[in-house]
Amino acid sequence: MDLRYTDQELAFRDELRGWLAHALEDVPDEPPRDDWAARREFDTSWQRRLFDAGYAGIDWPREFGGRGGTPTEQLIFLEETTRAGAPYVGVNFVGLLHAGPTLAAEASDEQRAEHLPKILRGDEVWCQGFSEPGAGSDLASLQTKAVRDGEDYVVNGSKIWTSFAQVADYCELLVRTDTPKHKGITWLICSMSLPGIEVRPLKTIQGSSEFSEVFFNDVRVPAINRVGDENDGWRVAMVTFSFERGTAFVSELLDSMQLLKRLVELCKRNGRWEDAGVRRELAHLSCDFDALWALTKRNITQAERSGIPGPGGSVFKLSYSEARHKLGDLAMRVLDEATLSGESEEHIRGWMHAMSITIAAGTSQIQRNILAERVLGLPR
């Protein structure tokens, strides 16, 4: 085991650091949270700048426009961009972290050539069409129907929790093409500009509208946009999930470390740092995040060896989301009356955000089932 970076990795870090110092000088101000057109413009412009500088898709193959680097370099990339306060992945999240890796692993050569470079360049924004109002934890019970008609699938139904649907060009869409629960699902690339798609934003408890409900009314998706075989979509979706659980929270963890730091600073300013109990709770969270950073490195090493992230993603998500709940609750306690007047908004948002991460991308209950049954071998 070693945690040392190679000379090449260290050189990469230095080069990136230098570039960031320069590049961040003329990044415009972040747009308002609910101005989605502006957010798309902001996020994809940054992605394009990364692409032009050779920093898009650090560990994606060169043939798709990636840098062809190692997962470790991708980790360094996330570390450095977070530390430097560079723009977050934003609307490029699904493309870069879910759909892209899934296409790279499962799609045809044509599909990969068509989409992967555009995702990396910030030319294509993706959204996820997996969950449905009646199919959340029990995703395999999804009912959005796709019927083959000539060269198309005709899609009817609705999806929910679709992040960035308002501004997405494509949707990774799971549809039902046959009756058997897990064996009747197909994974489609669905253009969001097709006739018959309606997007209705959902307001979250934070007051923002990251999520939408998406309705499909006789939407004709060309069959050529299928990824994998018909009725083999569940397996493809599992690949998507392994990426989601494996690495999608790395940037979040780095952000959380910063958030904790700012809470520490706030406590040092308002005197609560003198309180041994508060101080220990803050320190404990710092230890939690450090350990999760080590776990991330383990997960990445394992993913590098086996090609696809393992169950470490569920371990990470359970522990990380619990730590975030603790951080949020502690911040609310420490801020006390200051929460009333919207001061320290980032901590209030952080508190609420914690409540979404024990639900989204597989609830904590589902993650525990996965670990108990698939890793520990307990009977179903």
Binding site: S131, A135, G136, S137, D138, S141, I160, W161, L202, K203, T204, I205, G207, F211, D275, G277, V278, H325, D329, M332, R333, D336, E337, T339, L340, S341, G342, E345, I348, M355, S356, T358, I359, A360, T363, S364, Q365, R368
Partner: protein, 293 residues
């Protein structure tokens, strides 16, 4: 000793619950017409109608109901002010921050004396709870000094606030249980899964323990019990924690829907968070409890 609601108390509780169900849907904002309905129902004058230094037993029962129904408005301050001076809508001034700053009078009781402030300006602020408006008051407001012990008012205020929190803790158990019975996944109601069952059971435990604590504090206030200060502190601490924990668990039971503005759970959560800060947050209550151990 008889520590469960008697028939008069049940009748009072049911009457307030019925009023709330009929007139105060969860999303109803504070308005003066509703305020008059509450006043007419005796919500603010319970201690007066029971004679000097009594009526907290009943007030706690009533405030649990108001908390369950998430009734908006400066309930506690208006209740505290009744009998002290004449005003329809009274709210608390805490530092320079007031919730419901459109009130007629501000009650300031953080220091050695209690003041009633009738003339003031305020700037609205972004509130934590969309149904609890907040404003920054001032500068330079002055009020008339009232002849009342601030510690006594603070004790009553903490108890009433705890009762509101306790109501939230109880109501969110019901919301979670109802949803767990209706929502199906894996061809079963999610409430048939032990993970969900046990979350609901833990919510119930938190709510019942907190309710026992605040009911006892109410009775002890009326009985001028030796340990009353400790009882109030403990009730405020446990009810604050129970309300927040239950709202969070309720969101988890509701899953994705719980995280939306579409269902009401987030309003309970945000109200619980607001109440937790009023009349001393949980760390403050724990320190008070330590001093009374």
């Amino acid at each position: 000793m008889n520590f469960d609601l008697g028939s008069d108390e049940l009748a009072l509780r049911d009457a307030i619950r019925e009023l709330c169900t009929r007139e105060f849907p969860v999303r109803r904002r504070f308005d003066r017409a509703g305020w008059k309905q509450l006043a007419d129902a005796g919500v603010f004058s319970l201690r007066q109608s029971h004679g000097a230094g009594l009526g907290m037993t009943e007030s706690v029962i009533v405030f649990e109901e108001l908390g369950r129904a998430l009734v908006a408005g400066p309930l506690v301050a208006t209740h505290l002010a009744a009998g002290l001076f004449d005003a329809d809508v009274v709210t608390c001034l805490d530092g320079d921050i007031a919730t419901y700053p459109e009130a007629d009078v501000l009650l300031q009781m953080g220091g050695e004396y209690v003041y009633a402030i009738e003339q003031f300006d305020f700037t609205p602020l972004e509130p934590l709870d969309p149904l609890t408006p907040v404003g920054r008051v001032g500068p330079g407001v002055a009020g008339s000094r009232l002849d009342v012990d601030p510690r006594q008012l603070q004790g009553l205020g903490a108890a009433l606030t705890a009762a509101l929190s306790s109501g939230i803790a109880s109501r969110t158990v019901e919301l979670a249980v109802e949803y767990a019975k209706e929502r199906t996944q894996f061809d079963k109601p999610i409430g048939s899964f032990q993970a969900v069952k046990h979350m609901c059971a833990d919510m119930f435990v938190r709510a019942e323990v907190a309710r026992a604590a605040i009911d006892a504090a109410g009775v002890m206030l009326d009985e001028h019990h030796d340990d009353v200060a400790r009882a109030v502190t403990g009730a405020k601490l446990l009810a604050s924690e129970a309300a927040i924990a239950n709202c969070k668990t309720c969101i988890q039971v509701f899953g994705g829907m719980g995280f939306t503005w579409e269902v009401d759970v987030h309003l309970y959560l945000k109200r619980a968070a607001v109440l937790a800060t009023q009349f001393g947050g949980v760390d403050h209550q724990a320190e008070l409890a330590a001093s009374r151990i």
